[in-house]
Every structure is written in structure tokens, then in C-alpha cells.
């Protein structure tokens, strides 16, 4: 491939070196100059993890062809610590707890640096506006804005430099104190290496061929042309799995790569390792797969009908897991009720959207230990599963957890680590795989979409007599965490309430959709969304205050849970009280409220201020309220 020569000043040093014409500035910085502070979060200009300065102006380096760097002065996040010390802004990020997973942080620090360079007196609205191109998934942004304001004030002399130092903790007590995160300096400086930042000598690059079909038999896979390509060092399919193929958090129903059949769009079918990712990607297009399409299921309820196509032979009814809970006698409970309300609630699939797309690096060490480095949220379990899959004793399998650039449950599944291990074994070379954002979205777990039918019987006073709750979840093509999610949804779904007669059924169902899996709150969100919404509706029907109806039914110290666990202490009433206070709740049934509500009053009029987009700039650089 022809090369181009780039001469530029990068972080204060002149460079003159070859670059590949198709590279983006981000690739050149990361792959050629090993400046990995700038990250790739989306590769589409959306997320801002790759922000760098070009001639003092901030750019998203994933949208800049490397040619445009010719003759330019470039500063990456690494430039901010050239003196060996964190900048004021970086120290402020440390102090304010603005870095959590840290993956967005180098870009965020760059955008914040730009913001207070452009306007050293920027107020919070302007800071928000100037950081608008950088996305964070952990913090909710408030701590980041706090940090930028702190840095601005220290820089302007409004606050002393000591404001950046750690708060004193009262007699060595950390609970309740504002303690700085130990790992923050490594994150705010961009020094921390995530899996996708790591390199090893002689490392190969893995790319994955994915299924375009939701449900199809694989009649044949021909990899010969890909294997013959120069630069390709290995191609793997299911046939390379030496042991007992199958992973999953509960049921091991998912092969490392599709085995005879694909069950969702995006499922891995084959993988190529090559000297660089471009060759590997080109080789993917040379693999010939012959599919025979099967009828596919996209709806959980349809999948439960008899005669529906079967997705996994072991589960002819397409049920991944059914969790029932029975307590008391619901028929009697409903009969004794003054009010019975039934509603249906549904929730959608949700992507975790951590800023760090999946990445991993595997190698076989000199002692023959197959080692996988990845941001896995479940390395011990992965290690046990992989040992079986590659037919090695457990002491020959090692997992190293790299910094997790956001997980939220989405990195619990061993979706790609198996391919890396197989390829490292096959090529005897280190192999790295870095997902694109699209790959991350198409192939990894989502929050279970759900439909819940909830029936509740109550007395006139608001005491719950009976509940029946049935939730059907679309678990997608593979089991992953579905069993556990159904369990938690069932156990916690009826909420922290005393319910004498209860019937709960949660079903995780196989379909040909993207698999559903772990996601913060693990199933409780879906059922509790139903229960809590339902309580509000019932309160309205009974003319009760929504807090009151909850207090009437709340579990108290010594209560027994729906699954008969004795609770020594229950904090629910305290939580309710705090929420009531913090929301300035105006007591009364929801029906009693008009358009003017004292509890929603910010200032004056008795009407809540409308939600607005904040401020935008006027042409002269001043802010005006957004229209």
C-alpha cells in the first residue's frame, strides 16, 4: 500500500513519518505514535472520546483524515501533563469525582480545557454547551460540570489552589466523607490503558464475520480464499473449538461461533486474524457462507405458541426460564378486595452504551497458559467456561480484567473472549480484537424488553390483599443472564410491600432478536416499573396520597419477603420519607391537583418552570436563552 509522509508537531515534538493514506488522525495517534489517551468510542463523530487540538482548535480526531495533520500542531491529552504534573483542570476532575469508568474522560478533559481557554469565565450553561459534543454514560455530567467550574474558579483566583486538595477526613473516617478516587489521576491524564489501548510485540488483529440472518442453517463455510490472503495468519470457525462448546451465565447454550445454525443478526460465524485490521476486514469478505433461511421469531408471545419454530433443540417450547412464586390464595384475596385493577405495562430493549466498546487481547504465555485480557465483568466464571471450551485444565487458563470503560452489566457475557483464545492458540501469536460501536450494539446483550400484566386487589383503605403479576420477557437468541434476570424480576417485582396473597410468574423466552442479558437492576426494573406505576393508579382510584398507599403497605422491620426471607431491618419507610421531603411533595391524592401546585414551585408563580434546552450563543459570542 502506498504511504504518505506526515510532518507535524505533536505534543511539542516534531515528527516526520509515514502514515497510511486511509488512516484517520485518531488511528495515526493511537496505532503509530502510541498516544492512546484519545479513544475511539463511536468512530462516527458522536461521542467525543477522541477530541484533540489541531492548531489550538478542538477537533474530533475520528473525523479527521490523517492527511489534514500535515504541517499542523497537534496536542493530545498527553500534552496536558507534559510537565509531569496534572493540569488544574485535571486536578479538579480528580477532586470532584468527575471520572468514573474514565473512558470518556480524556476527551472530556480536552473539551473542558477548550471551554475555559475560549472563555475563562464561562458559566455553567456555557460549559454545558461547550461540552455538548462529548458523551459520558456514568456520571450524569453533574460532577464533570462541578469540576470545570472548580478549575475555572481556581484559575481565576476566586478559589485558592488548596480547593483542589483532598478534603480532610474527620478522624480517619471515610464513610460520609468526600474521598478522591485512587484511579482518577490515571484516567484524567489518559495514561490508563484499556484493553483496546494495549499492544504486544507481534500482535495480530482479529475481525469477526457476523450473521446477516436472524435464523438460518449454515450449510457450509468456505474460508480458503481468506486463508490464502497475504497477511492473514489464521481463520477460525466453530470447527476449531477443541472442547465442550457453550457459554452463558446460567445455561451454556451459546457456542463461541455459530455451530450449524445462526440465531440472531450479528452472531459471530467466523473470525480472521491478520497483520492489521484492514487486511482482516478485507479477508472477511472472502469467506463464503451458505445459509438456508429458517422462519424467525421476533416476538416473545408468538414464540410461546405451540407450533412456533424451535430456536434451541433443548427448549422445544422456547422457554429459557420460568420463575413462579405462589403465596397465600389469590382467588380469596381478590374476593376480599374492594377494588381490583388490572393493567399491562411494557418496556423496550435498552443498550448499555458504555463508552468503551468491547475489546480484548489474548496470548499463550511461555508456559502454555492461554491468557485473555478484557474488560470482563465476570472473569472467574469466564475462566471456568473457557477451560472446558478449549479443553485445558483450569491452571492453563488465565483471565485478566482490564479497566472496564463502563459495563452496567453489558460486559458479563463471554461474547468474544473465546474467539480471541482460540485464535491465540491457533496462531501462537498475541491477538487483539476491538469492537466497532456498531458491532457492540448489534452483538451484545440488551435490557430485556418486557410485557407485564399486573392485577392488584385492595381494600377501600388502600391495603393490598392480592397481586398477580405475569411478565413475559424477550430473552433473544441466547440465554446469557436471562435466568437470573427472571429470578430477580420475580423476587423483587412485587416491591417492598406486605402482600398476603401473591402469584408471580416471570418468563424469559427465546426469540431471534439480539440476546437480552444483565443490565443494572437485573429484571427488577421491569416488574417494579409495573408495580410502582400501578400503585399510583390505585392511589388515584382510591383517593389516596401515593406516599400514603405505599406507607400503608410497606414492609417494616421484621417483615417477611415474598419468598419468606425474614428481614431484620427495613429502610423503606425512611427512604419514602426522604423522597417525600426532597420532592417537596404536596400531600393528597393525585386527582386533587390542578395546574398550580405548591410543591413544584421553584419561584413565585406556583407553576413549575418549563423544561428548557439551556442556553445557546448569540452571534457575538454571548449567550442567549435557547429558543
Amino acid at each position: 500500500m502506498p504511504e504518505m509522509r506526515i510532518e507535524a508537531t505533536i505534543n511539542g515534538r516534531k515528527i516526520a513519518r509515514a502514515a497510511k493514506p486511509h488512516q484517520r488522525l485518531l488511528d495515526f495517534l493511537r496505532d503509530d505514535l502510541h498516544l492512546t489517551g484519545a479513544k475511539e468510542g463511536c468512530g462516527a463523530g458522536e461521542c467525543g472520546t477522541c477530541s484533540v487540538f489541531i492548531d489550538g482548535v478542538l477537533f474530533k480526531s475520528c473525523m479527521v483524515p490523517v492527511g489534514k495533520a500535515q504541517g499542523k500542531t497537534i496536542e493530545t491529552v498527553e500534552a496536558l501533563t507534559r510537565t509531569g504534573e496534572l493540569s488544574v483542570l485535571q486536578k479538579a476532575f480528580h477532586k470532584a469525582g468527575a471520572s468514573q469508568c474514565g473512558y470518556c474522560i480524556p476527551g472530556m478533559v480536552m473539551a473542558a480545557t477548550a471551554a475555559i481557554r475560549i472563555n475563562p469565565f464561562a458559566d455553567r450553561e456555557e460549559i454545558k454547551e461547550r461540552l455538548g459534543g462529548n458523551i459520558c454514560r456514568c456520571t450524569g455530567y453533574q460532577k464533570i460540570f462541578d469540576a470545570v467550574e472548580l478549575a475555572r474558579d481556581v484559575q481565576n483566583g476566586k478559589l485558592p489552589v488548596t480547593a483542589l486538595a483532598e478534603d480532610e477526613t474527620a478522624d480517619g473516617k471515610y464513610i460520609g466523607a468526600n474521598v478522591r478516587r485512587l484511579d482518577a489521576p490515571s484516567k484524567v491524564s489518559g495514561a490508563l490503558k484499556y484493553a483496546g489501548d494495549m499492544v504486544m510485540p507481534d500482535m495480530l488483529h482479529l475481525q469477526v464475520l457476523r450473521s446477516p440472518h436472524p435464523h438460518a442453517l449454515i450449510e457450509s463455510i468456505d474460508t480458503s480464499e481468506a486463508e490464502a490472503m497475504e497477511g492473514v495468519e489464521g481463520v477460525i470457525t466453530w470447527a476449531d473449538v477443541p472442547g465442550e462448546d457453550g457459554f452463558g451465565v446460567f445455561v451454556h447454550d451459546q457456542p463461541i461461533m455459530a455451530r450449524g445454525k445462526v440465531r440472531y443478526v450479528g452472531e459471530a460465524v467466523a473470525a480472521v486474524a491478520a497483520e492489521d485490521a484492514v487486511i482482516a476486514r478485507k479477508a472477511l469478505s472472502k469467506i463464503k457462507v451458505v445459509y438456508k433461511l429458517l422462519a424467525a421469531l421476533f416476538d416473545a408471545e408468538a414464540a410461546m405458541q405451540s407450533g412456533a419454530p424451535v430456536i434451541h433443540d433443548y427448549a422445544p417450547d422456547n422457554v429459557t426460564k420460568h420463575i413462579p412464586i405462589r403465596k397465600g390464595d389469590i382467588a380469596r384475596g381478590f374476593a376480599e378486595s374492594d377494588l381490583v385493577v388490572e393493567e399491562t405495562y411494557s418496556t423496550q430493549p435498552i443498550e448499555h452504551a458504555y463508552l468503551e466498546p468491547e475489546a480484548g487481547l489474548a496470548y499463550v504465555d511461555p508456559d502454555g497458559v492461554v491468557t485473555v485480557i478484557s474488560p470482563s465483568q465476570n472473569i472467574t466464571h469466564h475462566r471456568h467456561m473457557l477451560a472446558k471450551i478449549i479443553a485445558k485444565p483450569i491452571n492453563k487458563v488465565r483471565f485478566i480484567m482490564s479497566p472496564v470503560g463502563g459495563g452496567f452489566g453489558g460486559k458479563e457475557d463471554m461474547i468474544y473472549q473465546g474467539m480471541l483464545a482460540l485464535m491465540a492458540m491457533k496462531t501462537r501469536r498475541p491477538v487483539r480484537l476491538v469492537f466497532t460501536r456498531e458491532e457492540s450494539i448489534i452483538s451484545t446483550a440488551k435490557r430485556h424488553p418486557s410485557k407485564t400484566v399486573l392485577r392488584m386487589g385492595l381494600t377501600r383503605e388502600g391495603r393490598i390483599k392480592a397481586v398477580s403479576l405475569k411478565m413475559i420477557c424477550d430473552g433473544g437468541a441466547y440465554g446469557l443472564s436471562t435466568e437470573g434476570v427472571m429470578r430477580k424480576a420475580a423476587i423483587l417485582g412485587a416491591g417492598p410491600y406486605n402482600i398476603p396473597n401473591l402469584q408471580v410468574d416471570t418468563y424469559g423466552i427465546y426469540t431471534n432478536n439480539t440476546p437480552s442479558g444483565a443490565f443494572r437492576s437485573f429484571g427488577a426494573l421491569q416488574t417494579q416499573f409495573a408495580t410502582e406505576s400501578h400503585l399510583d393508579i390505585c392511589a388515584e382510584k382510591l383517593g389516596l396520597d401515593p406516599f400514603e398507599i405505599r406507607r400503608i403497605n410497606a414492609m417494616r422491620d421484621g417483615a417477611e419477603t415474598h419468598t419468606k426471607q425474614q428481614l431484620k431491618s427495613v429502610s423503606y419507610l425512611r427512604v419514602l420519607e426522604a423522597a417525600e421531603k426532597a420532592s417537596k411533595w404536596e400531600q393528597g391524592a393525585p386527582v386533587s391537583r390542578g395546574d398550580r401546585r405548591a410543591d413544584l414551585t421553584p419561584v413565585g408563580e406556583g407553576v413549575r418552570a418549563a423544561c428548557s434546552l439551556g442556553a445557546r450563543f448569540e452571534a457575538n459570542g454571548k449567550l442567549e436563552a435557547a429558543e
Binding site: 500500500m1 502506498p2 504518505m4 493514506p21 486511509h22 484517520r24 468512530g43 462516527a44 463523530g45 458522536e46 467525543g48 477530541s51 482548535v57 478542538l58 477537533f59 474530533k60 475520528c62 473525523m63 479527521v64 483524515p65 490523517v66 492527511g67 489534514k68 500535515q70 473539551a111 477548550a114 454547551e129 461547550r130 455538548g132 459534543g133 484492514v278 476486514r281 478485507k282 469478505s285 466497532t436 456498531e438 458491532e439 448489534i442 434546552l613 439551556g614 445557546r616 450563543f617 448569540e618 452571534a619 457575538n620 459570542g621 435557547a626 429558543e627
Partner: protein
């Protein structure tokens, strides 16, 4: 991923044409690359191999500007951010800063060019409606037998459909020329899913000039994007607004008029609501900025501005 074997950066128009001629059929022009890169990804065009990319953003002629009180001319490679921070451009083109401020984010606006926005011809392209309202013309250059020639076309005729234009093989969009409208009140209304980095569902550019009494329009221009295959000038509405005194009733009647134009493939109901609200809001904001406070009731300003 976008693959290429060569990335050329001509320094003059002649160098660019020379490169285009010697790589005929094997090249693509690049300006800011902010449409090309996202296009060459999974789910859209996928991996794309283009043997030669010709980056025209550095050609001085494509970065020039020439502004007087009658006409404004700027190069096609002008980054969107300049319409926000260049005071001369902002004065001559009163709704462009408002368009620019809603465009992508601070960083992408430094990459994205106005020429790329026009050639990309997305029905949701934000840069197009304001320029249509300014009666912009595009200047297209080509070279044959070593001689560069240029032709001009009104912008609204240049764009023929989603992603389609009158651009011919071998042409470069070199410049845009339009009317300068200093003293006009301008507004740009845009709605999408979030505040930054969002493609318009609907956008509306409004430019107004009031007469000496401040109670009538001397000129009104409305151009809308996102509701059909190409951006549209709302000529009927403009005519109606010019035909009588400026009052609340007239604005409300005007706001009803373009609702039936919504032809987008999705979310038609929603877009109709938005169109009605945007015409009101666009006019209220533009009138206020044109110094027409007195004619608007505070209630009207409060509910729309």
C-alpha cells in the same frame, strides 16, 4: 471503514482538476469528511474502497469570502463554525449563526463545510434552508482542455432530491453567492432528539425586514427542511404575510398554511404540529430581532420566543 490507496491534497483548483482527470472514475472529493466517514460504516455503505480521495478543503479559493451590503460570496470549504464566529458573515447572513449554533457541536463545526452540506443534499441538511432564503446560487467549476470554466445555478434548483444534485462528473462546488441581508431579523428553528449532535427532524429558516412603521413586513423569507425530499421556500406564506399588517391573527393564519406540505416518510403528524409551531416561533423571533417588539404582545412572545 473507508479504505483508499492515495489521499491527495491539491493546493490549487488546477491541481485538483489534474488529479480528478488522472483518476477519473476512481476518486471521491473530500472536504470535512464528516458525511463521508459515517457513511462508510456498518449499517450504511459498510466498508468502502475508493482508490483516491482528493481533499479540496485546502484550496485557497474554496476558503475565500467577499462581503458587501448587497452580495456575500464564500468558498465551499468554509467550515460551519465560521458562520457563527465570523462577525462579517454573521452580519450579512442573519440566520446563519443561529443555524450554525445548532449544527452538530463545536468540534464538528470546525471540520464540516458548507459545501459538503450542500452536496450531501440531505433533506435534513441544516445549512441549506437559510441559504435558500438568501436566494443563494452555487458556483460549479470544471476543466476541459486545460481551461477552467464555471457555471451557476440557484441553490434550490441545484438540489434535486435526497442526496441528489445537478453536480456533474468532474465538477467542484467552488463557492456560494447570495444576497446580503444586514438588518434583517433572522431565526433558525430546529428540532431533533437532543441538544447537541442532532440531525433535524424539521428546521425552519426565517428572515424578516419590517417597514419604517415597524407594523408591516417589508420582506419575509421562510425556508423549511426535513418535511419532504428537498428544502422548500414557503412562497405562498410569504406572500400572505406581505399582504397586510403584521398582527397576531395574521401570524396564526400564516402558520396554518404550510402544514399540508409535510411529505416526509415518517412521523407526519408530529411534523405537522412542529411546522405550525415553528412558523409562529420563527416569525416571532425574527420580528423581535428586526426590532419589532412593539407589534407583538408580551403573551405571544412569551409563548413562542
Amino acid at each position: 471503514m473507508l479504505f483508499c490507496d492515495e489521499y491527495l491534497m491539491p493546493k490549487t483548483l488546477d491541481e485538483a482538476f489534474a488529479a480528478m482527470e488522472s483518476h477519473r472514475g476512481r476518486y471521491k472529493l473530500v472536504a470535512g469528511a464528516t458525511d463521508i466517514y459515517p457513511w462508510a460504516r456498518e449499517g450504511r455503505a459498510g466498508d468502502v474502497e475508493i482508490p483516491v480521495l482528493i481533499d479540496i478543503a485546502g484550496i485557497p479559493e474554496l476558503n475565500d469570502k467577499k462581503i458587501d451590503d448587497k452580495r456575500t460570496r464564500f468558498g465551499a470549504a468554509m467550515p460551519i463554525q465560521r458562520f457563527l464566529d465570523d462577525p462579517q458573515l454573521a452580519r450579512a447572513l442573519p440566520c446563519m449563526p443561529r443555524c450554525a449554533v445548532w449544527f452538530a457541536d463545536d468540534q464538528l463545526r470546525e471540520s464540516a463545510t458548507i459545501g459538503g452540506n450542500i452536496v450531501n443534499a440531505s433533506p435534513a441538511g441544516d445549512g441549506i434552508p437559510p441559504l435558500v432564503a438568501h436566494k443563494a446560487e452555487v458556483e460549479l467549476a470544471s476543466r476541459s482542455n486545460g481551461r477552467i470554466s464555471k457555471r451557476r445555478l440557484p441553490l434550490d434548483l441545484f438540489i434535486t432530491g435526497p442526496g441528489r444534485s445537478e453536480m456533474a462528473e468532474g465538477e467542484i462546488l467552488t463557492a456560494i453567492e447570495c444576497e446580503s441581508l444586514p438588518g434583517y431579523g433572522g431565526s433558525f428553528e430546529k428540532v431533533g432528539h437532543r441538544r447537541s449532535l442532532v440531525i433535524s427532524l424539521v428546521c425552519l429558516a426565517t428572515l424578516v425586514k419590517l417597514d419604517a412603521s415597524g407594523k408591516r413586513f417589508e420582506d419575509v423569507r421562510l425556508a423549511i427542511g426535513g418535511i419532504g425530499p428537498v428544502p422548500l421556500r414557503l412562497a405562498e406564506v410569504e406572500k400572505f404575510l406581505l399582504s397586510g399588517p403584521l398582527d397576531e391573527g395574521r401570524l396564526e393564519q400564516a402558520a396554518e398554511m404550510p402544514v399540508h406540505l409535510v411529505q416526509s416518510r415518517t412521523r407526519q403528524e408530529y411534523r405537522r404540529e412542529v411546522v405550525r409551531g415553528f412558523v409562529m416561533r420563527g416569525l416571532v423571533n425574527a420580528v423581535r430581532r428586526a426590532g419589532g417588539h412593539a407589534v407583538l404582545t408580551p403573551e405571544l412572545e412569551a409563548s413562542y420566543a
